[in-house]
């Protein structure tokens, strides 16, 4: 499990020779994804904002039992999640609703 430099994923899904890059991913994303000259290119893309991206990362590791099995325990160090498994499930439910609402909004915006 790595949380420091990249998107949290179980360590074994990475290639064995994968080197952790030193520049913090959050620092990079808040610049290249959120800033920089915005010009409409010919190819239309829909970049997620960072908040939504973070929610998706949480959902990615949302299955608590499965995550424990894989040795992932980052939520135990996360103050918003650290008060027990019930809170984690509640948080996940809330985030799922939120992602659902945001996706519905996005669908409405681009018919």
């Amino acid at each position: 499990m790595t949380t420091s430099g990249g998107i949290p994923v179980p360590a074994r899904s990475r290639a064995p020779d994968h080197r952790q890059e030193s520049t913090n991913l959050a620092d990079i994303l808040e610049r290249v994804l959120d800033k920089g000259i915005v010009i409409a290119g010919d190819i239309r893309v829909n970049l997620l904002d960072i908040e939504l991206l973070t929610i998706k990362i949480r959902l990615l590791v949302a299955s608590v039992d499965k995550a424990r099995e894989m040795g992932i325990d980052w939520w135990e160090h996360d103050p918003t999640l650290s008060s027990g498994q019930r809170d984690v499930l509640e948080e996940n439910r809330r985030l799922r609703e939120r992602v659902g609402a945001l996706e519905a909004e996005r669908t409405r915006e681009q018919p």
Partner: protein, 248 residues
């Protein structure tokens, strides 16, 4: 092939010796005195359908973001360079040439404003909370309930006090650093999931600093660190946070 746009500067501008988002060698398109740093990328990976699919894959987003940043950061810093947002893609080089012609006025003004300034990030976290048994209210064996509530209240008051102090310190640091910068922006506090940090983030800000002011800026960051809060400077970054033009 499609044309992926990384950054815009002025001639002469050499492409960096770094592979781009599709492992392609970057090149430069010149038009009207502007130099656009681009790469030829495969439609199979960078057309609308491919991107819509790939941007759902967080590992792929990370790869793209890192490659985009690496290339832009490798550009020479002796002239102004404006970084372009991730995944700005044209059907061909002509699309980029058209952009450089049509938006010449705004792009010129942006490059003048950026000059050779560099972007520096500053992040500040509150110091770790003291251990619970350090609370000043002693346990009273006669009235355990009351003394428990008093300890709880003392802990809560101490938390509120620490938070207020932290906010004030962050404001002070931000004001001090802003005076040494050409421009300053506060960014949203980073989510613990992405930053890997659990302490409360007091400040996440970024500053556009002239080269000649960098030493003073660095000294001011170090000075702020003496206050007890943990402060980290990141950079230099290409001026992503200050490269803004209005999209018509």
């Amino acid at each position: 092939m499609l044309t992926y746009l990384y950054a815009i500067g002025r001639v002469p501008l050499e492409p960096p010796d770094r592979p781009g988002v599709d492992a392609e060698p970057p090149r430069v398109i010149v038009e009207d005195g502007f130099a656009a740093v681009v790469g030829s990328v495969a439609p199979a990976r960078f057309d609308e359908a491919a991107l819509a699919h790939d941007l759902e894959d967080l590992r792929r987003v990370e790869e793209l973001a890192r490659a985009h940043h690496r290339l832009v950061a490798a550009l020479p810093g002796d002239g102004p360079v404006a970084p372009v947002r991730l995944a700005t893609i044209y059907r061909d080089d002509d699309g980029v040439r058209r952009l450089l012609r049509e938006r010449a006025t705004e792009l010129g003004a942006l490059l003048d404003r950026l000059g050779t300034c560099r972007e520096w990030g500053v992040k500040m976290w509150s110091p770790p909370r003291p251990a619970a048994d350090a609370q000043p209210v002693p346990a009273d064996a006669e009235r355990p309930g009351t003394s428990y509530l008093m300890r709880r209240r003392a802990a809560r008051d101490a938390d509120a006090h620490r938070r207020a102090q932290g906010t004030e310190l962050a404001e002070h640091v931000h004001r001090t650093l802003s005076r040494l910068a050409v421009a300053a922006r506060r960014l949203a506090p980073q989510d613990a999931v992405l930053s890997g940090r659990t302490e409360e983030m007091l400040l996440n800000a970024t500053y556009l600093v002239r080269r000649e002011d960098e030493a003073a800026f660095t000294a001011a960051v170090a000075g702020a660190g003496a206050s007890g809060a943990e402060i980290v400077r990141t950079g230099p970054w290409p001026p992503f946070s200050f490269a803004t033009v209005d999209d018509p």
